[in-house]
């Protein structure tokens, strides 16, 4: 396999998704495209040569354009994410390489229904799947169960709402763990087995599940899905910890 070379990424746009989450659009000439679910490594270099690397999931669908979106949660006290949030402006450059990862990926040719389970910024690689599914007009039923602290913490809220309206087999189900919106009649607790049992009724047990979020959520969701009767091979996991940021 050819080595993954460091490439120069130029920031073309920054967008606030929530108070703590921003999306960076990067121009990466020669970007070889990617598969939804993959991530990249970025490398920042200080004047004195000190370098820091981090991995971020790709939020955008594969595209012929050399542009990708990374969505980054600001981790208070972190080394890299506060820089990306507070300092970075359009035109800034850093090094990047990828795409990386070949297991937590969805192939549009797959016929199985999709069950996507997200906690917080764990929605990012799942959004690449949702966007890709919409882009290729896949008819595969897809359910996103998305746990957030509150309505204000939902990343991609407007876009998810728009996609949800297309009635193309996508269902977006929210659960709010800290504050529910006024008049809310949906879930308002952490993801648990009974919630997954209800949600999977609309998806079917043949679903391919992708679970991404903080470790406690991933552990509970993956274990529950196996208890509900999915094979371990139907459940792919990825963790999003605030560690190190």
């Amino acid at each position: 396999m050819a080595p993954l070379q460091w490439q120069v990424a130029t920031v073309t746009a920054l967008r606030s998704e929530t108070k703590r989450v921003k999306t960076l659009t990067l121009l990466v000439p020669g970007w070889p495209s990617h598969r939804p679910g993959q991530h990249v490594d970025i490398r920042l270099t200080a004047e004195d040569g000190y370098q820091a690397q981090r991995s971020y999931s790709i939020a955008s669908a594969p595209s012929a354009q050399p542009l990708i979106d990374l969505t980054v949660e600001r981790v208070a006290g972190g080394e890299v994410s506060p820089f990306l949030h507070d300092e970075l402006v359009a035109g800034d450059r850093f090094e990047m390489r990828g795409p990386i990862g070949g297991y937590f990926v969805w192939e549009a040719a797959a016929a199985d229904p999709l069950l996507l389970v997200a906690g917080g910024s764990g929605v990012v690689p799942l959004m690449a799947i949702i966007r890709h599914r919409a882009q290729v007009a896949s008819g595969v039923p897809c359910t996103l169960l998305y746990s957030s602290r509150s309505r204000d913490d939902v990343i991609y809220a407007a876009e998810l709402e728009r996609l949800n309206q297309r009635r193309d087999g996508l269902r977006v189900i929210y659960t709010f763990t800290r504050a529910e919106p006024p008049g809310w009649t949906g879930y308002s607790r952490r993801i648990d087995m009974s919630m997954l049992g209800e949600v999977i009724e609309g998806t079917g047990r043949m679903a391919q599940a992708f679970v991404c979020g903080p470790t406690p959520l991933v552990e509970v969701a993956a274990r529950s899905l196996v208890d509900i009767g999915l094979a371990a091979s139907q459940v792919r996991t990825e963790r999003f910890g605030p560690t190190g940021g």
Binding site: P3, A46, Q53, R223, A232, R236, T237, R239, G241, T243
Partner: protein, 205 residues
Amino acid sequence: MGERLVTRGFVGRRAAPERGQRVPPGQYVTDDFPVLSAGPTPRTALADWTFRIEGLVGQPVSWSWPEFSALPAREYVVDISCVTKWTKLDTRWQGVSLDTLLEHVELDSRAAFVVAFCDGGYTTNLPIADVLNDRAFVAHGYDGAPLSPEHGGPARLVVPHLYLWKSAKWVRGLRLMERDEPGFWESFGYHNRGDPWLEERYSGD
């Protein structure tokens, strides 16, 4: 890339020098113990658990959990580095040296590689030289307590001088092989050997 690309305004945070020397390139120190795995945490009852050495050995050997727990174990204090960029210093494990385990089999002279196999189907490959001379152990304790399932319990391989995906969680045995055969992540573009000091993260690094 020949010329270094400085990112405007980036200062970063350096580890204290005495720690910095212990941190491989591109890594940062964390005090947490992050959990990463590709699928659900397997749950094998200890009554059904065995650890097996097979492949190019005179006679395969298999230990039950009580037998394995009775093998001579010792404490290891090691630094560990995950390819996802975190390094954790001075982790304290209790486990059995692979030297001790391999004393129970007669190695075929052709045996040059090891595949560790695990509950859940995970595998990882290693040259024998990377697991001999007390460079690898099977841990069943962490910080004085039984190793928790999310960190690989009841037992996990630990190969501290390589990236942590080589330290296979939920390990159930070792297969001795003549030829190298890529394991799980090694088949998905990760480096075949994974030395953090050489930044062998991905295939071709």
